[in-house]
């Protein structure tokens, strides 16, 4: 980005001869300088946009290393949940919860606290549109029981029907997460360890409803529901 004014002066007809600079020549030089700076400023913005786009792609690759190359989830030392098809509001709320340590997870805290709000939105939106088949692998024996609990709840245990909030198709809505196709051991871990991992919730975070719900489910009921939703598309 070199200011073009000296050569512009020299190229002007009648300008630059014997070093004489006309008023018009000077005005033109200033105009040229301004236009050069204006173009280079927009070029800088374009560079920034390209870096940001590269930033998003690199960040997506980073997420998919653990969450599955199509966002379908992965079984590492810990189960990593499915992000594909997830509600964007839910993903963004969880990222904030990790950063504020309302949801306890040292790995995700590290991941999340370097993300800008616009990056979070971009990531959430990208994952929302992915749709790989479910990860699978859940035991099939209790799926029928899980379906009944999912659709009707357990009135005798004060467990509402999951479908009431999570939808009949388990796709969720707004800040309520999609459960369809979720990784089985992840679901079991979340439901059985809810109060430890997910904190107490806040007025902002409607997941507070899950604390008594998860508490009232027995282990085998949790496994049944998890097995049922893990097969849904």
């Amino acid at each position: 980005m070199i200011l073009a004014s000296p050569s512009v002066e020299a190229d002007l007809p009648g300008g630059g001869q014997g070093g004489r600079t006309t008023k018009a020549g000077l005005w033109f030089a200033v105009l040229a300088a301004i236009m050069t700076m204006a173009f280079s400023a927009s070029a800088g913005a374009q560079e920034k946009m390209a870096r940001a786009a590269g930033g998003l792609e690199a960040k997506l690759e980073y997420c998919k290393t653990c969450h599955g190359l199509s966002g379908q989830g992965y079984l590492g030392y810990f189960p990593m949940p499915r992000l594909a098809g997830q509600q964007p509001e839910y993903i963004e709320a969880q990222l904030k919860a990790f950063i504020e340590r309302r949801r306890t997870n040292p790995i995700m805290f590290n991941v999340a606290h370097v993300l800008s709000p616009s990056m979070m939105s971009a990531l959430a939106n990208h994952f929302h549109h992915l749709n790989p088949p479910p990860f699978g692998g859940a035991p099939r024996g209790a799926v029928a029981l899980g379906k009944r609990i999912y659709e009707e709840g357990l009135p005798e245990s004060n467990v509402p029907a999951c479908s009431a909030c999570h939808g009949a198709d388990a796709h969720g809505q707004n800040e309520i997460p999609r459960l369809a196709g979720q990784v089985y051991p992840y679901m079991v871990g979340q439901l059985s360890g809810w109060s430890k991992q997910r904190g107490q919730g806040t007025a902002v975070d409607t997941s507070a409803i899950m604390a008594p719900t998860a508490h009232n489910l027995t282990r085998s009921q949790i496994e049944a529901v998890a097995a049922y939703v893990s097969n849904l598309r």
Partner: protein, 200 residues
Amino acid sequence: MKHVGLKLAIAAIVVSFVSAVPARADSAAVRNCTWCHGTDAQGYTVAPRLAGQRPQYIMSQITSFHQHTRDNPFSRQYMWGAVAALNPVTARDLADYFASIPPRPANDGDAALAAKGKRIFMDGIPEANIVSCYACHGPNGEGIRDIPRLGGLAYFYVKARLEQWGQGYHSTPGSPMPMVASHLGPEEIEALASYLSFVR
């Protein structure tokens, strides 16, 4: 007893032919591995430690050598041929046998880099899109299922593998390691390899 050494040697040779049970320390199948991987399976020069490794991981690597999907230079040169005649039953027995041997850490990394390596292992470097190794390989690099134990592997082996993935060599299909390692710079690789070589 006269010529006790000679008689013992002959007895040993005879016993080793007679014993047809695979996956004992003196069986032919095991010895074909320990030629290179060390008589105690703790690794030797470029051949990595097999002792204490996840059996599912050993199996997946044997399959990968069979299918020529793992293609780093030493694998191509040695391992493709080494497992070509290995049947699945023997492979499974070998994997279980080596998994049962207590591993010893190599302790051959740079101790000055170990603390930095541990930080990268546990936390990753989110700003550089480097994932936390701990998320898959466990808090002590012990691995799980077919994700390998890294704790105590030789510095030069871990360093070579991380570099190879960055250079474009392949692993088992679906492995995230090529993507993971492609973000690592040389200093991070040296730190990680150093840290892991000391981990029990």
